[in-house]
């Protein structure tokens, strides 16, 4: 692929598709939550109005803040979310993919949380400091089970490349239809909820306890970038989970019928993941930080270990459905 087409892919997919679909998904979340509470809910243009309004507002930097780190953190969050999406297969296999891209995406998907920590601790606000501590606890809790669940498909295919994982699933059926895959999928849904800091894992931003956590001092365009990064993550994480466990998000352009079916399946998979996440978000109250830590290090890690053991057995014995 030549440089012009690659650039077009980066601009179109990374800076047009990913943030806009992400903003649409935040609207799905808010609307669904409103309907669950017997409200009308916001109109469809709401996330875009919020974003435009925030970019047009004054950006204040507190006197106690470290100026450079404070202002650099939101773009870091947004660009890592966009980069993570650019490597993943979406509609077509990404022209930027390479061997080991799964590991890179794992790191890129932690970056928004790390950027929130950098920005929060640079803002010099005590509420932000507490929020950063909690964010750190949350990252330490979910990363171990998350990496263990990702190892399940990686072990079965024997490759660290998104293209291979998706090809394997297109030939042999999604990993969801195996015992270890189902368990790993459930755990990764839980991790997805924590990565997005939605209830029951919204400890870092707990509005009723610590104002807005790491984002307390952010205003105007910086806050808009953080919100956009969060919206993009709401698109990136379902993409990641769908590519890992639900058979991938690739359209086969062989004939019109398979292409249409694949395209519809992409929408169904992503919307299903987003709606399940919204249901969890609006059904559950916030857990305490220690409860969250316990949930991940006891239950989630134990289940992820079981899934990992099953996948090892399935590879050794040769039972694809284990």
């Amino acid at each position: 692929m030549d440089i012009g087409l690659g650039l077009l892919y980066v601009v179109l997919m990374g800076f047009v598709v990913a943030p806009n679909v992400g903003l649409f998904f935040t609207w799905v979340h808010r609307k669904l939550g409103a309907r669950m509470q017997w409200r009308v809910g916001p109109p469809i243009y709401q996330p875009w109005a919020d974003f435009i309004k925030l970019t047009a507002k004054e950006t204040l930097v507190p006197a106690t803040a470290h100026r450079i780190a404070f202002l650099l953190a939101p773009p870091i969050a947004l660009f890592s979310a966009v980069l993570a999406f650019l490597v993943m297969p979406f509609v077509i296999r990404s022209p930027l993919e390479f061997t080991g891209d799964v590991i890179v995406v794992l790191y890129l998907m932690v970056m928004p949380a790390i950027a929130a920590m950098i920005g929060g601790s640079a803002s010099g606000n005590p509420y932000a400091a507490v929020g950063v501590q909690r964010e750190m606890t949350l990252v330490f809790s979910y990363e171990l089970p998350f990496i263990m669940t990702i190892l399940v498909p990686v072990l079965k295919v024997g490759s660290l490349r998104f293209g291979d994982l998706v090809n394997y699933q297109m030939n042999n059926g999604p990993f969801l239809f195996s015992v270890s895959g189902t368990i790993a999928f459930a755990v990764s849904m839980m991790v997805m909820q924590a990565k997005l800091a939605f209830p029951p894992f919204d400890v870092p931003e707990a509005k009723t306890e610590i104002v807005a956590g790491p984002y307390t001092e952010y205003s105007g365009a910086s806050l808009a970038l953080f919100k956009l990064a969060h919206a993009t993550m709401l698109f990136v994480l379902p993409c990641f989970v769908a590519n890992m466990f639900l058979g991938g998000l690739v359209v086969r352009f062989d004939d019109p019928i398979t292409a249409t079916v694949d395209a519809i399946l992409i929408v169904v998979k992503l919307l299903a993941l987003v709606i399940v996440s919204a249901l969890i978000r609006f059904f559950y109250p916030r857990a305490r930080p220690d409860q969250v830590f316990g949930m991940f290090w006891r239950a989630a890690t134990a289940w992820a270990a079981i899934a990992l053991a099953l996948s090892v057995i399935s590879v050794i014995v040769g039972l694809p459905y284990l």
Partner: protein
Amino acid sequence: MAGLITWARVKSPWLFHFNSGSCNNCDIELVDVLTPRFDVERFGVLLEGSPRHADVLVVTGIVNRQAAPRLRRIYEQMPNPKVVIALGTCATSGGIFTEGYNIAGPVDKVIPVDVYIPGCPPRPQAIIDGVVKALAKLQALRSRRG
């Protein structure tokens, strides 16, 4: 472009609520506006936890001497453009506490107020009407500060 920004401002007013010594009646009525019966989220209104995120500062209660410097600081912490709503009889005029020994208010003696909503407490419909008036003010602010 300017029209787009004004549209976004009017469609997404985020509130920050400050209780400067209120008896809690106005606060309850303000929260009432967010309940499913009135549901102001359909107009894009959200209650924010941090003054840095907010566009509209809603002040309830007579401002007492302890609250006055804090109210001023919160007003200064909000990014421009911003509007201030004084909610309830105490916030607009002082009400029965006007002669009190510990009173620094009403609100417009401490910070500039854009919209007054009287009532003890004001009905939710009155609060929604006040927010709409505040939005008209936000629209007019475009030429001056936007």
